[in-house]
Amino acid sequence: MSTAETTAGAVRPSSRAVRLRRSPVGRLFTKLPFWLLILVIIIYALFPFYWALRSAFTPDPELFSTPIQYFPSHPTWKHFDDALSSSFFRHALLNSTIVAGAVTLISLAIGSVAAYALGRFRFRGRSFVLYLMLSMTIFPQIAILGALYTMFSGFHIVWFLHFPKLYDTLWALIFSYLIFTLPFTIWVLTSFMRALPADLEEAAYVDGATPLQVFWKVLLPLIAPGLVTTGLLAFIAAWNEYLYAVSFIQSPGHYTVPVAIVSFVGKTSAFQIPWGTWMAATVIVTLPLIAATLILQRRILAGLTAGAVKG
């Protein structure tokens, strides 16, 4: 093809454009819309969170008056005090920590062993199991709500084995949350396991290590970053879950954070919805998540894309 012609024709106008773009005025002119767009995106992403913060710090008389102030002129900690002093909310924080922590640990323990098998062994049926796990990650939780609901009232598995009554206990949540944390953990950890070079494993086998020793002493330390990532993702998923929490838990003492947030009634007054306390509670609940996300953002991105794009 006539490459010489086309390049000759193309270079001249583009070089003029480049010269224009490199001049100070031109640079500002071409860069300005870009930075404006960046600014708009940042404001869009952060404004609701800013608004929650602003409302949490604004005292009630200002909060419920028009025209609206965009910055609290008399900031107060009162709403935070109210939120944290309610034992209901403190219990919810504790319950959520227990549930999310337990679910994360169980998923990591079972998931890393399964990922070892799926990532480092070659055997028939392996890809079937992988596809099963993948299909579980898009499994709609609502589909089994009724079944779980009746299962948790207790039933006989076989005549001598009785499934305990889990309804209205944190166990019901720990049990049912595994449905979305475990397959995801297995899927992501398998991709981490696969990425490891074979040399280390072989060297350990030559030294007479058993497969379990290889897993525990060689592979597990190597995928520690993967464990942190998937652990955090599982924790966030369990911390944020609402459908099962609102269906399987009845007594307020067993509420998790999302349920508590929704049914939260502060002490301010019976007539006015306590939006200030509400926003303080949402800030308290999300700050740790945001902090953890920002600290581990690189790893989270790696985990999210491994979980999704490789599918």
């Binding site: 608004w51 947030i261 998540l289 945001i290």
Partner: protein, 309 residues
Amino acid sequence: MSTVATPAPVPKRRRRRTKLQRRQTRLGWLLLVPALAVVAFVAIYPLGKSVYQSFTNQEFLAGLEPTKWVGLDNYRTLWHDTIFRDTVVLTIKFTAITVSFEFVLGLIIALVVNSSFKGRGVMRAVMLVPWAIPTVVAAKMWQWMLDDTYGVINDMGVRTHILSHPHAWLSEPATQLAAVSAVDIWKTTPFVALLLLAGLQVIPNDLYEAASVDGANKLQQFWRITLPLLRPAILVALIFRTLDALRVFDVFSVFFGNRLGAQSMAVYAQGTIVQDGHVGYGATVCVAIFLIISLFVVIYVTFMRVTEE
């Protein structure tokens, strides 16, 4: 390190390998036992039970009526259930709105963030913030922002004269779908953007250089290089988002509770089972939701197969 393992006579090695293979198979399955047991017990058994329950008249408060097999009765009722039909229509509308907005906005954001500039890392961190916030909490924040008297959105709208008067966004039937969609779009657009960004970063830069040497302008480059090469990432993002949107529960539940005419499919199913205690009929609703979602999966997968050729 690896050289130590290799020297071995060929026939012996082959026999050892098959033995090793058998051992690997056995150990592999053994290691999978806990995971498979959990999945079987937490997902597969309940799914079977759900399907079974959908053919019965089971009530949560047993003793009202003994549970018995009713055949296709529930499915017949479901077919004529206009409330359920409304929830299906509303959920599909919600899905169409949110997925298309999230895709277009997400693509724009991904393209912007993909160009190298100072502070790109900060930008990516900022984008993770809405994703990390619990959906319920995000819904509460927006509910307050959308408040009819003290809400900031009405205030901004009226001040800039975009709105002639404040709206009660959540109670006016005309705006309630827009209100729930806004929360979902805010919360998940960054996630879609990050997925697309990961896809963009795999596209080699040489292609763009070669194209601009050949005189292709930015728009041509976008249509001829970026979009085709981004297709796998786009499809994955669309599938994930569609399936998520179809089973939406949290935002609808927080905004509207069980208000008639403002229920998603999942809200209706949950209300039928938990509030009303109709486990049998609720299971039928759940099976129907499962089938509708599966239908979308099949459509997407066939679409992927067809366009791949």
